[in-house]
């Protein structure tokens, strides 16, 4: 009897700890002086209330201080600022630095994990890492080798460490994690190695597993409730994670979860997208391949999916659905709604009701997009919610060993993981985009565990009949599904944006420029060339009463593959090759943090 009583006490104690953890972190996130989470806030808006730097004075911005990370590979994500300390991370080997903002960025502690270098080649597209997270006095680092480690934020000492996946079968990590309530929610990479994607919630206190939901498989694996989990308003029914696959193909089905996560505390739901089905050869995996390419809304406590929406059934182009889900409150048709806006790799900007998963808007956010004529928005239609595929650009319909040419966007998508920002003041989304098209030829491949499982040949080139560049930075109206303005860029914009109450929007470019533009007009107000190309995300914080803007530079990632050598249009012949200047003419490798401020 006594033991039972103790148990009950412990349980209720656990409950209150959970609530405290959430409130403490929420308070930090709500304080614009801090940058307590990679995404700026749980809604993934990447919006700051700070306005000391504004559109009238941003032109006078100067470099306040810099820091070299000592690592050469691609630097994604951004630092965190918690109180007087800035936490900076690096790509593999995933070093963490704690820098003292009271003492000119002096290194308070440094943590460098020991990882098996054999994880390096199993990572698709460079050894990037999208940053640290914070909660309950701990810094969370999800390493390349899928080790999730909790470090004491004060000392860097390891509090606990767990292994989320197995690099020997191609499971790796590039993403950050999201701390929610008493849990840390964690994804997995490896879609090009036939990994079956999953999302796992670890208990923040000790690293034990609370739940794991797979992207495909039996309902017990996917945590999908056949009667209550809905797809466009209708229950999905039993075995939805296996019945659109042939045989056991779902076991190597892809749908990895390497993007960003958002969270709505009122609904207790966490939102994310799943990646491409494996292989890239669609003929080898007939069916819709559910739930790859899907927006998931899962209950934080149980992991059970409330609703799902598959954007690209039976992917034929590698249009991973992992990009961020930005949560906003906006009025549509006279009613304020809880919305979710998502800019997919497939080139469509989606707006959904995030309570129910109802599809409200699906429009192209790059006019170059040609693989689809649009999404069927008629709830009465048999193809409701499905994109209409243009036969000419269908690598499935054209078949194996046939080169489908001129598909827009390319496999890297009209937008990849680099996160957009949203300003509640302008009600506009600020979106870094790719303006790149491709030829795609699928062919048969065999699966070997831990080996690439791709099965297509791709050639990528700047969108034809356009400005000749490979990127745009756009402002998007999510209610209307319309581009408000678009800034052409020579290279893909591979940096995450930041919007502020000062009516300024910041982003970085692959040449290495940090740019500031007017949030209303897009007019360029400031640019500065940092030491290397930017694939990191812009962040801002306030320290000692002064606002700072910080960016990691260090070119690499997906962008480092094609753009290091320059892209060519095979249809243009030899003469045009020189027209697409290589990124290496503009920048070189090297991780560096640059922090900006207005002069005193």
């Amino acid at each position: 009897m006594k033991r039972l009583l103790i148990l009950t006490t412990a349980m209720s104690l656990g409950g209150s700890v959970a609530a405290t953890a959430n409130e403490a972190l929420q308070k930090l996130i709500d304080d614009p002086s801090q940058w307590a989470i990679q995404t700026g806030d749980y809604a993934n808006q990447r919006y700051s209330e700070l306005d000391a730097i504004n559109k009238d004075n941003v032109g006078g911005l100067q470099v306040a201080w810099t820091f070299s990370t000592g690592v050469l590979r691609g630097h994604e994500g951004s630092p965190l600022v918690i109180g007087d300390v800035m936490y900076v991370h690096t790509p593999f080997p995933n070093i963490v630095y704690a820098l003292d903002l009271n003492n000119d960025g002096k290194v308070l502690w440094k943590y460098e994990p020991k990882q098996d270098p054999n994880v390096i080649p199993v990572m698709c597209c460079d050894t990037v890492n999208r940053g640290l997270a914070f909660g309950e006095g701990k810094i969370f680092l999800h390493q390349a080798d899928t080790t999730l480690v909790a470090l004491d934020a004060k000392t860097g000492a390891v509090a606990w460490s767990v292994k989320n996946g197995d690099p020997a079968i191609g499971e790796t990590n590039t993403a950050t994690v999201i701390p929610v309530k008493d849990k840390v929610i964690v994804g997995i990479s490896g879609g090009e190695f036939g990994v079956r994607g999953h999302v796992t919630a670890y208990n923040m206190a000790d690293g034990s597993v609370a739940w794991r939901g797979y992207s495909m498989g039996p309902d017990s694996d996917t945590l999908i409730d056949p009667a209550n989990t809905t797809h466009l308003g209708k229950p999905v029914g039993p075995d939805s994670g296996t019945n659109t696959w042939e045989g056991d193909q779902w076991k190597i089905g892809g749908g990895t979860t390497w993007g960003w996560y958002s969270y709505d505390p009122e609904l207790n739901l966490v939102y994310y997208g799943s990646g491409n089905p494996s292989t890239w050869n669609p003929a080898q995996r007939p069916g819709d391949n559910r739930w790859s390419m899907t927006i998931f809304a899962r209950d934080v406590d149980t992991g059970v999916a409330k609703w799902v929406y598959q954007m690209t059934p039976h992917d034929e182009w590698d249009f991973d659905g992992i990009n961020e889900m930005i949560l906003t409150e906006q009025t549509i048709g006279g009613t304020e709604r809880k919305l979710l806006t998502h800019f997919d790799r497939n080139g469509l900007g989606y707006t959904l009701d995030r309570v129910t998963g109802e599809l409200l808007v699906a429009e192209k956010f790059d006019p170059a997009v040609n693989w689809t004529t649009g999404v069927d928005m008629d709830p009465a239609s048999a193809t409701y919610g499905r994109p209409a595929v243009v036969a000419e650009y269908s690598t499935e319909q054209n078949g194996e060993d046939v080169n489908s040419t001129g598909i827009c966007p390319a496999a890297l998508g009209s937008k990849d993981q680099q996160p957009a920002a949203y300003s509640p003041k302008t009600e506009l989304f600020y979106v870094p985009t790719n303006h790149v098209c491709m030829d795609y030829e699928p062919f048969r491949v065999s699966y070997t565990a831990g080996q690439p499982y791709v099965g297509a040949t791709l050639a990528m080139f700047p969108a034809p009949q356009s400005h000749g560049g490979m990127g745009n930075f756009i402002a998007w109206d999510g209610k209307e599904g319309k581009i408000k303005w678009s800034l052409p860029e020579q290279f893909s914009v591979w940096s995450g944006a930041l919007a502020t109450a000062g009516d300024v929007v910041f982003y970085g470019t692959l040449e290495g420029y940090l740019k500031a533009v007017d949030a209303n007009t897009g007019e360029e107000l400031y640019r500065f060339k940092t030491p290397s190309g930017i694939i990191g995300n812009v962040m801002t914080y306030q320290h000692g009463g002064k606002q700072y803007v910080a960016i990691l530079s260090g070119v690499g990632g997906w962008a480092g593959i094609g753009l290091a050598a320059g892209l060519t249009n095979p249809n243009d012949g030899l003469g045009a090759v020189g027209g697409y200047a290589a990124l290496s003419d503009y920048t070189a490798l090297g991780g560096a943090l640059t922090v900006f401020a207005l002069p005193n």
Binding site: P121, T448, Q451, P452, I561, P570, L589
Partner: protein
């Protein structure tokens, strides 16, 4: 030609050679016997042979080989590319390009293989692909995995190698090769046997 050197070359090739390569090496030995005997000319010819790891001399089972029995590309006068090298273009862009960049041009973190294929000895090149290679030190973290068990790579390794050599010499421009021959039937058979399909 120095018979000792021919024998030496033979010893080096034989244990690792597939039957068709061994035949090519034997053909080479026969060719060597008829070569000029003048010492100066002999040295010049040897240098040329050493430098020429490219010229297609013999064809067996649909694939072209150099005088030394090393796989190579062949471009006809009208620009038609041999099937194997075209196949290498496809396989390279499936298996290799996410690290080594489009068309063997290299990336921000992996070397340009179009240069490696020309600079490296064929057997060393094959060895690195099969066994992998690790260069992790203060200056770099470069790891080539072992592809020895990956049929999507190993069954097409000679195709990929000849494609990269063709790129390294600019015999094939960037982008998709414009003209290619039809897939030879014997290569179709060999492919199926290798993949076990």
């Amino acid at each position: 030609m120095n018979p000792d050197r021919t024998a030496c070359r033979h010893r080096r090739l034989q244990p690792r050679l597939q039957p068709r390569l061994r035949r090519a090496a034997l053909a080479l030995a026969a060719l060597g016997a008829t070569a000029t005997a003048a010492p100066a000319q002999e040295a010049a010819a040897d240098n040329l042979a050493a430098a020429d790891n490219l010229t297609a001399i013999t064809r067996e089972e649909g694939r072209w080989f150099t005088a030394e029995g090393v796989p190579t590309y062949k471009i006809e006068a009208d620009g038609t590319l041999d099937w194997a090298t075209y196949s290498g273009f496809r396989r390279y862009h499936s298996e290799c390009h996410v690290c080594h960049g489009p068309e063997g041009e290299g990336s921000s973190y992996a070397p340009a293989l179009k240069e490696s294929a020309v600079a490296m000895d064929y057997y060393d090149f094959i060895g690195v692909v099969a066994d992998g290679r690790t260069k992790v030190n203060a200056a770099q973290t470069s790891v080539m995995p072992s592809f020895g068990t990956n049929l999507n790579v190993m069954c097409y390794l000679d195709d990929i190698y000849t494609y990269l050599k063709a790129r390294g010499t600019d015999a094939v421009p960037r982008g998709r090769p414009a003209k290619r021959e039809e897939k030879p039937e014997e290569m179709r058979t060999a492919e199926a046997a290798c993949l076990g399909t």
